[in-house]
């Protein structure tokens, strides 16, 4: 279609690039400030419902949940992330959802927060290292996000890529892992009602060290499956090569289901230390969520598919 000459903007009217860039930065900062006002760590989240999937066990104290973290981008000691993630910038934030889907999307946090009503899910969290905690997450089922983008028949796995920025995460260089961190689930695992995207804990916006602004929570698997600070969710046909599998395939498998009978090569998984408890407690198969997830693995050799 020919463009009428009169509709062309005279060159003199075009804002010079440096000027509009600086204006964008200014507006971005304003928007960021506004958003930060709405959703900064520690801010109360309102209007979330209870869930029948919540455990009645006593939640681990907030101080423990937020100071004992494995988040290698911010350092490899448990007390590193709470310090090093303090100034991590979580807004503006976008998540790309693409791959084998009919409707790929790029969602900002506002859109994500409106995907589904928020729920409190009090889940057990079992780390592959042998400790556990109980966390009152706030979030929504991952299924809501999956249905939005309409996966095609080729979508067999979901890949979760976490945010990585060298400048904001200088400690990542020493962690001994390649970043960005990649995790994955089989499609049925991703659609299981227990699998959630968490945006908060203890009724508040997710603290940075716990994976702000949004993270995965898969309570029947070891904690490393639940990627933090997600930036991309991709639907693929083949089982992805996840970060810990790539780093040490003998020790970390794709499934990583909590299983007291399948040892980590370097330590037993039969028992766990619940933070705050003196003696260890026995670890439960599928972290105690067997009635909701065991059927997904019927016929599978869990020792081999660990």
């Amino acid at each position: 279609m020919p463009i009428p000459k009169s509709s062309l903007i005279p060159y003199s009217e075009i804002t010079p690039k440096p000027l509009y860039l600086s204006r964008r930065a200014l507006m971005g900062a304003a928007g960021g400030a506004l958003f930060a006002g709405l959703a900064s760590a520690g801010q109360k989240l309102a209007g979330f419902g209870k869930s029948r999937f919540s455990t009645t066990e006593k939640p681990t104290p907030y101080a423990s949940v937020t100071t004992y973290n494995n988040f290698y981008e911010f350092g490899s000691d448990k007390d590193d992330p709470v310090v090093n993630a303090r100034s991590f910038k979580t807004s503006p934030w976008t998540v790309v959802v693409d791959g084998e889907v009919a409707k790929p999307r790029k969602l900002d946090l506002d859109a994500i927060m409106k995907l589904a009503p928020l729920e409190e899910r009090i889940y057990r969290l079992r780390c592959v290292e042998g400790w556990s905690m109980v966390v009152p997450w706030i979030g929504f089922e991952l299924g809501a996000l999956i249905r939005l983008v309409e996966p095609t028949s080729k979508a067999k796995y979901v890949v979760f890529e976490t945010y990585y920025d060298k400048r904001q995460m200088p400690e990542a260089a020493g962690a001994g892992l390649p970043f960005p961190y990649v995790e994955g689930l089989r499609m049925d695992e991703a659609l299981n009602p227990l699998t959630i995207i968490a945006v908060g804990l203890y009724g508040q916006v997710l603290p940075n060290q716990n994976g702000a602004p949004l993270r995965l929570v898969v309570p029947w698997k070891y904690g490393f499956k639940s990627g933090k600070s997600l930036s991309r969710i991709r639907f693929v046909e083949k089982q992805p090569r996840t970060t810990w599998m790539a780093a040490n395939p003998r020790e970390y498998g794709f499934y990583a289901n909590v299983n007291p009978e399948v040892d980590h090569p370097r330590w037993s998984q039969a028992r766990e230390r619940r933070l705050g408890e003196f003696t260890k407690r026995p670890t439960l198969i599928f972290n105690g969520y067997g009635s909701l997830v065991a059927s997904m693995y019927s016929g599978m050799d869990l020792k081999r598919s660990f």
């Binding site: 104290p61 448990k78 330590w267």
Partner: protein
């Protein structure tokens, strides 16, 4: 450096080496060891074992380089302190980690090479602690006593490997200790020629 020979200097060194344990105990009683205190105790006693093993291995090269014969007794002090931390480390594992489940521990030693390495390190230290007195030195004779006490190298090496094998992906910590150990071992080869000098300085 005459003061190094004074009893108060040795008492001071012992107090200094006991300070990390006192701090751990103090913080433990006051709930200041973080969300996983037993892990903090395990790590604290373990890392101080390794540090003091390296300190004990640093005494002889330092003595030679600086010509300070008064340093000699400090090797024993550091070595015994290292052994004490190692025993505390083992006790933490036996009691607070495994709750005297001997079967599970035996399986651990057989199946987990990092635990086996820790056991080797401790086993290498035990006879050194037992024969650290002047009486035992006389009983064994200088040459045999010295030969036996070369087990300190094995203890430090096994301790470093123990640390290497237990980390998940960030190897900077154990690598730093391995480097320090390498320097201390090399320092034994280099000053061998300078020894007469050091002797004349005495």
């Amino acid at each position: 450096m005459r003061f190094l020979a004074a009893p108060w200097a040795k008492a001071g060194a012992i107090a200094l080496l006991a300070a990390p344990a006192a701090l751990l105990a103090w913080n433990g009683f006051h709930g200041q060891l973080g969300p996983n205190p037993i892990e903090a105790i395990t790590r604290g006693t373990g890392i101080w074992t390794l540090r003091l093993l390296l300190v004990s291995l640093a005494v002889t090269p330092l003595r030679r380089f600086l010509g300070l014969s008064e340093l000699a007794p400090y090797r024993r002090i550091a070595g015994l302190a290292a052994f004490s931390y190692a025993v505390a480390h083992l006790a933490t594992y036996v009691w607070l980690d495994q709750f005297f489940d001997w079967n599970a521990m035996l399986r651990d030693v057989g199946k987990r090479r990092f635990i086996a390495a820790g056991v080797v390190a401790l086993a290498a230290m035990a006879p050194l602690a037992a024969t650290s007195t002047k009486r035992w030195m006389r009983k064994l004779g200088g040459r045999r006593w010295k030969a036996l006490h070369r087990l300190a190298y094995l203890a430090a090496l096994a301790g470093t490997i123990h640390y290497f094998w237990l980390v998940k992906s960030d190897i900077r910590g154990p690598a730093a200790y391995a480097l320090a150990l390498a320097v201390l071992l090399l320092a034994r080869i280099v000053p061998a020629r300078r020894q007469p000098q050091a002797m004349s300085a005495m």
